[in-house]
Symmetry: C2
């Protein structure tokens, strides 16, 4: 079963304590695709400018990522620049040039409209709604968002949350969305008010938590000594998560738990190097080995 | 097998968002004992003032806690006052009256000097060394400390660390002790420099991590919606941890992992109410049930 993702395609300029990368491939749709394509075919809807070098995404095409929904508009590709702090948990945005992304109106190609598994990457909730209106009968909609939309477009975001099955937030966003300092209370509150069937809260170096039908499940973060570049961690996590679910074809709690671990495992590889340098060469065998390592991290 | 603990006995005045308690029983030695005594006999060495009401600790005596090492000095008992912030992860100390604790020189009763399992609760490292000098041949020394000693008595603390088998820190202390922002790097560094065989880092709402012979093991925090009073969480954690080890009588990795879960489970009960209100009535059956719940929280 394939997965549909609608999100950004960007050229990132990133500085971390371990070095920097300039105009390197980035964007939520691509990080997601790179991870999800380890499990199933992926269909991308997004936009790039006429300056975009298509050869940069050939490694994704080889992995079964379909770009029939990639629109090339005249103008420049979306660019983002950020600098990570020494602890790598915080970052400053140095610049955001939306460029062609500013007027992006996601048009879902006819052949994608029967999509069953949909990932709405972090974009304007108005656009996320437009996407959902074009999908006939999705089996599972996974939604990502960010503080910017929680504070800036709350009513619209609430509409999208109502129509999603799984909402992915980080801990800061969960606290902001619920206005609760205790994360567990925040999760209960979001779950009862927004009513997404399932909630995932990413806690960075502290792992991730899944809340499904009143059950909690915790995944640790893989104990990496050196995080080189956290960019794309959240989207590659979502890709591993949804890719595994789509491949499994069911929404049982046991599947969701395994999916959370696969998501965590892919993300742990992603941060080992800049841009797609690590995910590009990641094999399913390496991923399976790390999945087994995750077992040892919590089994008693 | 019994456990020996040397630490504070206090009267705490605590304010949390859920209420307050005045001059209620507290102190590291008692929180530790309350938890450890669920598994094995406990011997306490500590000091109180002539104002101390001995009936307050009768519930511990009934649970097999021996107070032959409790010294009653003329003067007042150690008093601590603190106020927790809304998020309960931070607190301000309102007052600290050391009173009789100021001149405490731990004298280990002759019948305790063959102790095999020793917990050095968070006190001046000079006193911790004095304790170790009086113990003949401990099988396992578990050490707790705090930022105050890390910054104020580092050389002395390093001496104690060298003589302990298991060092327990919280994440902030681990970062300070190692001068490393990445917790995993911090753990590797402390482990290679200070050379405690085993390191435990408590991460509050994010659980705890055990590092033993180059292996990591993660315990989640029990997902409590309401933390009433976090006072004593760390010491009751240590009590559940060491109590289980002493009862098991071995130091296998599998034992340490289970001990970490028992420690986490006891601590999760402790914070459900002020002072010893919850631990006082905690049964082994309740603890076993929560231990099983911890399995479900991470098993996939």
């Amino acid at each position: 079963m394939s997965v549909l993702v609608v999100g950004s395609i960007a050229l990132d300029t990133v500085e971390t304590p371990y070095g920097n990368a300039e105009d390197s491939l980035g964007g939520s749709a691509l990080y997601f695709s790179s991870a999800a394509s380890l499990f199933c075919p992926v269909n991308v809807v997004g936009v790039v400018g006429s300056d975009f070098d298509a050869s940069k995404i050939s490694f994704l095409k080889k992995r079964g990522v379909n770009f029939d929904g990639l629109y090339v508009e005249s103008g420049d590709t979306f660019r983002w620049g950020g600098r990570y702090h020494k602890n790598l948990n915080q970052r400053d945005t140095l610049f955001t040039y939306l460029n062609v992304f500013e007027s992006f109106q996601p048009k879902i190609p006819a052949q994608y409209r029967n999509a069953e598994y949909v990932f709405l990457a972090n974009i304007d909730p108005t656009l996320q709604l437009q996407v959902l209106d074009q999908i006939k009968k999705p089996k599972l909609v996974v939604l990502d968002t960010m503080n910017f939309w929680i504070s800036g477009k709350r009513a619209m975001l609430d509409e999208v949350v109502k129509r999603c099955d799984i909402l992915i937030l980080n801990d800061e966003e969960a606290r902001e969305l619920s206005d609760e300092p205790n994360l567990i209370t925040a999760i209960h509150k979001i779950s009862s008010q927004g009513k997404p069937k399932t909630l995932i809260v990413k806690k960075g170096e502290h792992g991730a938590v899944l809340f499904h039908k009143n059950s909690f499940f915790f995944a640790p973060a893989y104990p990496l000594e050196k995080v080189i570049d956290p960019t794309g961690a959240g989207d590659s996590f979502a890709g591993g998560f949804l890719g595994y679910i789509a491949k499994s074809g069911n929404l049982r709690l046991s599947t969701l738990k395994k999916a959370l671990i696969y998501g965590s495992a892919v993300a742990s590889f992603n941060v080992e190097d800049f841009s797609f340098n690590r995910l590009k060469k990641l094999t399913m065998e390496e991923l399976e080995n790390r999945y087994q390592e995750f077992k040892a991290l919590t089994r008693f």
